[in-house]
């Protein structure tokens, strides 16, 4: 039996790495992938708590999170394709139309 803390600490580490990637990546697709990494970290915490509490609610929530992530990926990637087509670049620094 592995202590639940180990899973939660791993989840926190993965979430922190996701935040780091979100901040430091310049490519818009890489930034989108770091969001997926953070969602995965949260899913790990959900399943760990579900196992610790002996309730299945956590696992049901994980399934819903995965569905929402799939929908988000579809819409987000469509927006990325649109942005790349309009600006001829995937660099977020080049998307500066609102900048003074």
């Amino acid at each position: 039996m592995i202590p639940t803390n180990y899973y939660i600490v791993l989840s926190a580490i993965l979430f922190g790495l996701g935040v780091l990637a979100f901040i430091f990546k310049r490519n818009i697709i890489s930034i989108f992938m770091s969001i997926e990494l953070m969602l995965n970290a949260v899913n790990l915490a959900f399943v760990a708590f579900s196992q610790a509490m002996h309730k299945l609610d956590g696992q049901v929530f994980v399934l819903f999170v995965i569905v929402v992530a799939a929908a988000e990926a579809a819409v987000g990637l469509a927006i990325i394709i649109l942005t790349a087509r309009n600006r001829q670049s995937l660099n977020v620094e080049r998307v500066d139309l609102l900048k003074l």
Partner: protein, 168 residues
Amino acid sequence: MTAPLIIFFVLATLAVGGALSLIFQKHPIHSALSLIVVMVALAGLYLLMGAEFVAAVQIIVYGGAIMVLFVFVIMLLNAGIEEHTNFSKLAGFPGLLLAFALTGFIAATIARSTDTVQAASQPGNMASTRDLSTMIFKDFVYPFELTSFLILVAVLGAIVLAQREAKP
């Protein structure tokens, strides 16, 4: 050190290594492949926790569908090596600081709440996929049906957004 603990540490190392690789790879396709490693390692951890159905869905939907979509878009847009721009110091230093502060805050919260979680973590009867399906189709049936509308709206939105402008 028992066998499950060794498996846990191997999978955890794989997951953290994949996440680090995602940060340090310059090419988006390498980042995507690193993310697939993370997802497969997490599926292994779900199996270790006795959540077989979630592990299967993780591999099929995340590792299969979503990452294929990512790789497809990367290849469609012909994404090359990330060009290095000198981003503002304001984003660099406080960003790193905030990320560490967030991780520290989460760690502190975990450290404070260990007792309650540890107390609840007793080996007992493992939940099965049958119980999970009963729960989804009995207690969560309305949210479950709503997700189908969500997917429908997402598909419509993606098609409307990504289609080319019709020639007049």
